[in-house]
Amino acid sequence: MLDATEWGIVALSLRVGGVAMAVTLPIAFALAWLLARIRFPGKVVVDAAIHLPLVVPPVVTGWLLLLAFGPNGRIGAWLQDWFGVTVLFRWTGAAIAAGVMALPLMVRAMRISIEAVDRRLENAARTLGAGPWRVFWTLTLPLSIPGVLAGAVLGFARSIGEFGATITFVSNVPGETQTLPLAIYSALQQPGADALVWRLSCVSVGLSLIALIASELLTRRAGRGLNVL
């Protein structure tokens, strides 16, 4: 099985994926809700911008993150001045890269599920005395939960697999930013590390599979209460 260093790589990947997913989740849901429910000028542009990481070469996304979060970047300078921290070469930077790359997938899944919520049910709730916030918390959110969960798990799996933007943005630092795909890449550069590549690749496939199955089961388990989709 895996040795301590390799378990460390897995743990780091899970941490990066988990944090990326948790931080991106509310942002993705807000954007999905905006796109599903609100008409506003420039919506097409916002929609396209959200989907950019899906089609732009990941190395470009990584480079743009580097510009923004680097010492001369606006966000980077702000973080340095106010908190004295940097995300460069840190696992937090890897989580940012993973979150940005996962965002479009999460928004897509959530948007579809929000659009699937029957507006007529929301109207019925209004006539029963529920204001817009109560309608959101008691109907819109619970009814769209299957898609929100599916989006979150998809984003988690995508985050664990993130490679191009991560290596460009925060480099390949063992123990800090070297997640599974980066470790596999490094192992491929070493002669005689085939066994390691195999082991880490199996872990990658296994994790992705578990994530996808978990998403399916969660959706079904919630299904009785959330059976409209």
């Binding site: 209004r126 006539t127 005395g129 009785r224 059976n227």
Partner: protein, 203 residues
């Protein structure tokens, strides 16, 4: 006056215009489908904005196009008990949770209020397991428990077979005669209009 309605609305190619003043009991809007009867109920409930006119119920103005703002009282403050053609029960809540959705907290007399609907044995069921008649009676119960000032009924019998219709008709008559809530009901069935309507308005 229970209902004072004087509205106009253009929806696509349909021009909806209605003027009525109705007293106590049940007022039935009668006419062929597609001429905007349901839209009238939506406008009274606040879910649809009339292009012009005024709506008042029990003497309180709910909408007046000439007043500033012009949106009228929001639907959640109109206290309409609206029973839709397609029940619209919340699928992720059991019958009990559906019933109390619009009820005030700690309200007494829950059992009494729903006893006449014959739905007490359904409280722990999910809406998807109910028959059409059961769903419609739960929808009526849910509307009544929200302590409405008036009832809006949109073809409440249309999805039911003959035997189930009788259950729901009896429930509506109870609301009209015992609870004495003003009712505005839409139907295209002359027999229903005749039986429920204190007065019938042709649209």
């Amino acid at each position: 006056m229970s209902f004072e309605i004087d509205i106009e609305k253009r929806l696509g190619n349909t021009h909806i215009a209605l003027t009525l003043e109705a007293g106590e009991g049940a007022t039935v809007l009668f006419g062929p489908s597609g001429i905007g009867k349901s839209s009238v109920l939506n406008m009274v409930a606040g879910l649809l904005r009339p292009d012009r006119g005024r709506i008042a119920v029990n003497g309180e103005t709910l909408f007046d196009a000439t007043k500033a703002g012009g949106a009228g009282v929001p639907p959640e403050r109109r206290r309409a008990g609206y029973v839709f053609q397609d029940a619209r029960l919340f699928p992720h809540m059991r019958v009990r949770a559906n019933l109390v959705y619009g009820a005030a907290r700690g309200q007494d007399g829950f059992e009494d209020r729903i006893a006449f609907l014959g739905i007490s044995h359904l409280l722990d069921r999910w809406p998807s397991t109910l028959s059409g008649g059961e769903s419609q009676r739960v929808a009526i119960g849910r509307a009544l428990l929200s302590r409405p000032r008036f009832l809006l009924l949109d073809e409440p019998l249309s999805s039911l077979d003959r035997a189930r219709r009788e259950e729901v008709l009896v429930a509506i008559e109870h609301v009209r005669d015992v609870l004495k809530l003003p009712i505005l009901m839409v139907t295209h069935d002359p027999a229903e209009a005749e039986r429920i309507g204190t007065r019938v308005v042709q649209m």
